[in-house]
């Protein structure tokens, strides 16, 4: 099969799958268009035009038309675990598309504690209904880590008092795809930092299914919604990196695309916040930027409608999209080599220098003793 034929088959299969969803609107798109004076012919012309724009051969226009008729039926269940709601806050700031468009036109937001109108018993009914009705077809988004210590009793949700751990395991079973939104759901996050008193874990550690990890504390609204839209547009999961993060967002290091990279290569560094270098926009490496060890698209997409990102605001990257970053990347105002080793209150270089000093003292003692030692007799 050539590529186009394969793609056509893939598209057809996807649409067949979508067609099995219960219709969300009694009124079909065609009926609706007729009301607005758009004929079937106009619609097919539009489909052909879109097909041309996508540089696909004409048979695809058929698929494009079908896709438009079928669109916007992906049920989404969003669960909150041990979290701070920062990821939901990030979600509501989306502009790709806007939140209202996302909810009205693209997904069917079945359960989301921060946004849903129903509470308590009724909310739980919504969850149970969605898990049953859309079994095998819903997207599951999780925000927050899963406390596992003491059988997960550090978190219960719902009238029935289920632990977060039980809820996640149950919800994961029927999910078409699981997305861990944010570093907590992905890798455990702040509550999993040393000494992790609640045994908090990332979702992928407690379910036996592949999980897409959206690192970030929180991930930008674009990385959350972009990943949802990828699934909605292409009907499959995006390519993933070494930590199961979508490559389209986490494919490059922050350092690679940093606007201050030229300053780094030139050896121009901010020595302390607010100094001459800080005003000039020098590299923040020496005040702790962890951009060189962090994969994310912050420098190109930025946050909040491209308004800013930490480096633009003069603060180094803290590596928030990486596993275990609260421990690995701290101290956040110092480069990696100068971090205090936990429990030792010393940097690696201090310890290295101390060992070196001890070695030199040992050597000195040995040398001095050698002066007094009996010469070797053979």
């Amino acid at each position: 099969m050539d590529t186009h034929a394969a793609l056509y088959e893939q598209g057809k299969a996807r649409l067949d799958a979508l067609r099995q969803f219960a219709p969300r609107q009694q009124q079909s798109l065609i009926e609706k268009m007729q009301q607005h004076g758009i004929s079937r012919r106009d619609f097919m012309k539009w489909s052909a035009m879109v097909t041309g724009m996508l540089a696909l051969p004409l048979p695809f226009s058929n698929l494009v038309a079908q896709a438009a008729e079928l669109a916007d039926r992906v049920p989404l269940i969003w669960l909150h675990m041990a979290e701070c709601t920062g990821c939901s806050e990030s979600l509501i700031r989306t502009d790709t598309p806007n939140l209202d468009s996302l909810i009205f036109d693209h997904i069917s937001l079945e359960y989301h504690e921060t946004l849903m109108a129903a509470s308590g018993w009724q909310a739980e009914e919504n969850l149970e209904h969605a898990l049953e009705t859309y079994k095998g077809r819903y997207l599951l988004a999780v925000e927050g880590a899963i406390p596992t210590a003491n059988n997960g009793s550090f978190l219960t949700v719902g009238c029935k008092g289920h632990t977060g751990l039980e809820i996640i395991k149950h919800a994961a079973e029927g999910a078409a795809a699981i997305i861990s939104v944010g570093t907590c759901a992905a890798f455990g996050g702040v509550q999993a930092a040393y000494p992790n008193p609640t045994g908090a874990k990332g979702v992928y550690e407690v379910v036996s299914k592949p999980v897409i990890n959206l690192g970030g504390c929180p991930p930008s609204e674009k990385n959350i919604v972009g990943t949802l839209m990828y699934f909605i547009m292409f009907g499959k999961l995006p390519a993933l990196d070494m930590f199961n993060r979508p490559k389209w967002a986490y494919g490059a290091r922050v350092h690679d695309n940093c606007e201050r990279r030229g300053r780094f290569d030139a050896g121009e560094f901010v020595e302390e916040f607010g100094d001459h270098g800080a005003k000039e926009g020098y590299c923040l490496y020496k005040v702790g930027c962890k951009g060189p060890y962090t994969y994310n698209n912050c420098p190109t997409e930025r946050f909040n409608h491209h308004t800013s990102w930490p480096v633009l605001a003069g603060h180094g990257c803290m590596g928030c999209s990486e596993p275990n970053f609260w421990d690995d990347m701290a101290d956040f105002e110092k480069p990696l080599g100068r971090q205090l080793l936990h429990g030792l209150d010393a940097t690696a270089d201090t310890i290295g220098a101390v060992i070196l000093g001890a070695t030199v003292v040992g050597i000195g003692a040995h040398a001095v003793a050698s002066l007094f030692a009996k010469p070797l007799e053979e």
């Binding site: 406390p147 978190l155 008092g161 302390e272 205090l340």
Partner: protein
């Protein structure tokens, strides 16, 4: 015969909150319990880390008031190290605080609280032309409430509802008798719900201009602020001012008008005319103006006595854990508190939904502690903030509050209600937004002679430090307390707004503001307790904030035992 009602999860809040009430045969609430069902242990995690990172870590307590803990933690360290930060840094922090309040309160009123007041389904039967006229009753220049706007909104929602798949609006309390707006009023409010989605995004961008991003901005450090380039850029400054103008415009023409509308529609609805049963209030000072003045005052009001407002005495704060899932012998002051988890689980019993695990009201039942001031529960939040400033004769606050009362024809007592609490939040937003420009102007004046944004902290690893910071977060008075030893955090404590409000009963049987607010409330249908949810939402719960960062003092991990089977 009394019946138990369980509400879990309380949605449209930050975090995990469970409310249980007991209603009598007339469906009047006689007992109430408030419980947080999540513990994250951040206080344990802070120990042994550098004070320079404290702000970033405590920021992760909450992603909603995402900036409050960041700033409070950082300022507690600065206080411990005896630092005074540059004036520019103070102004920038205050402007970020302004951005936060504008964002947070708009999102709370429309997207979290709004659906308690607005019946979405009812809006579908409104006449858009009539609704446009209705909107003009509450302001001369309504926003997003022209006939065309309203018709577009109605069509959009109609199309959505027609699908039969209501998504986030499914299975709610539509049609409940305590929804008092007319269809036209509902349509206006619904239009503002959608408009506010747009506006809150702009408010978040205001935060990002000086903060780098939102939520979880990243530009504050011990010693000052890092966004010096944004501060020195005329384009960035004006970008903030422009976005500020857009959001303020919405607050004045939308948010304010909707509150006036709600005051009219709900003015005779008994379920929102109670709800303030703890009549003690506490607030911290907030928003730096020029000359070191503050926009809002600090103080404590006991027993609703506005004439007797006094200064906060931090020594009178103690936390009780009699009914919280921790072990301790007696109430503890923040500096001497402990946090030893002691989870006892639920008790099975009959409820209106059948047999369910329920809170053990006689024993321990929440991860939230119960802070007390002089042994008394205290309410914090925008209402407390306005009352304290009002009692102190703060001219801006007095004028604004009196203005609203005059406009709605309500007496001052109307403030001590659920409706008053919700209105106070709007007034606080309005004042913070409008007066925020004074801070902005003070910054502009100061930059002309001084570009300093940072002073390097000087910490001697051989010395011990103690410090705290108090400020007003969107949900009320917030304070962080810490000790530094050997250059790292020795113990940490945050006394958080929602802890004050949501705590369980104390050793003397005194209820906190949440629980007290529900007593005497009559429910239309105990299986659909909209009235309870509305009152609880009026506090703007933030559970992640309330549960953590209690104190951690010299305890080793081995002391953190939780009995596995809940006994």
């Amino acid at each position: 015969m009394s019946k138990r009602v369980v509400i879990d999860p309380i949605t449209r809040i930050e975090g995990h909150l469970r409310i249980e009430v007991e209603v009598d045969e007339n469906n009047v609430i006689s007992k109430a319990w408030s419980s947080s069902t999540l513990w994250r242990g951040i206080e344990v995690i802070l120990k042994g880390r550098t004070p320079m990172d404290v702000g970033l870590i405590v920021q992760r307590i909450c992603g909603v008031c995402t900036y409050s803990h960041y700033r409070c933690g950082t300022e507690a360290v600065e206080n411990a190290l005896g630092m005074t930060i540059p004036l520019n840094a103070k102004y920038l922090r205050s402007l970020m605080q302004t951005s936060l309040f504008m964002h947070d309160h708009i999102v709370h009123f429309y997207h979290l609280h709004g659906l308690d007041w607005v019946d979405v389904v009812s809006a579908l039967s409104a006449d858009p032309a009539k609704a446009a006229q209705v909107a003009l009753k509450y302001t001369d220049n309504p926003i997003a409430a022209g006939e065309g706007d309203l018709r577009a909104v109605q069509e959009r929602i109609k199309g959505f509802v027609d699908t039969g798949k209501l998504g986030p609006f499914a299975n709610a309390y539509w049609g409940n008798g305590t929804y008092k707006f007319t269809p036209e009023q509902n349509l206006v409010a619904l239009s503002h719900y959608l408009k506010a989605l747009e506006v809150q995004r702009i408010a978040a961008e205001m935060m990002a201009i000086f903060g780098g991003k939102s939520p979880h901005p990243q530009s504050i450090v011990v010693g000052g602020v890092t966004s010096v380039r944004d501060m020195l850029s005329p384009a960035r400054l004006q970008e903030w001012k422009q976005k500020h103008a857009i959001v303020t415009d919405f607050i004045v023409r939308g948010y304010q008008a909707d509150i006036v509308m709600a005051a009219e529609a709900f003015g005779a609805e008994p379920s929102v005319l109670g709800g303030v049963n703890v009549k003690n209030f506490m607030a911290s000072q907030e928003f730096v103006l020029a000359n070191g003045e503050h926009l809002f005052d600090q103080g404590v009001i006991m027993n609703g006595d506005l004439a007797g407002v006094s200064d906060i005495n931090p020594d009178w704060i103690a936390e009780d854990v009699t009914h919280a899932w921790y072990s301790a012998d007696a109430p503890q002051h923040p500096y001497d508190g402990t946090t030893i988890p002691n989870y006892t689980g639920f008790v099975e019993r009959d409820t209106v939904y059948g047999k369910l695990p329920t809170l053990d009201g006689d024993g321990k039942y929440s991860w939230v502690k119960s802070p007390r001031y002089k042994g008394e529960p205290v309410e914090v939040g925008p209402l407390a903030c306005l009352l304290v400033s009002y009692a102190r004769g703060n001219q801006i606050v007095v004028d604004t509050v009196n203005g609203l009362l005059a406009r709605t024809g309500l007496p001052i007592e109307a403030l001590f209600t659920t409706l008053g609490r919700t209105a106070a939040r709007m007034l606080q937003t309005l004042i913070a937004a409008q007066e925020g420009l004074k801070t902005f102007d003070a910054l502009i004046t100061n930059i002309q002679s001084d570009e300093t944004t940072y002073i390097k902290p000087d910490m001697d690893p051989n010395k011990e430090y103690i410090g705290h910071a108090m400020m007003e977060a969107p949900r009320g008075s917030l304070s962080h307390w810490l000790r530094i030893k050997n250059g790292v955090i020795e113990n940490y404590q945050a006394v958080v707004p929602t802890t004050w409000n949501a705590g369980p009963i104390d050793a003397n049987g005194k209820m906190g503001p949440y629980e007290a607010s529900l007593i005497g409330l009559k429910l239309e249908d105990p299986t659909k307790p909209l009235e309870v949810i509305r009152i609880i939402h009026s506090f703007d719960p933030c559970m992640a904030c309330s549960v953590h960062v209690m104190d951690f003092k010299g305890q080793e991990l081995s002391e953190f035992r939780v009995s596995p089977n809940g006994q």
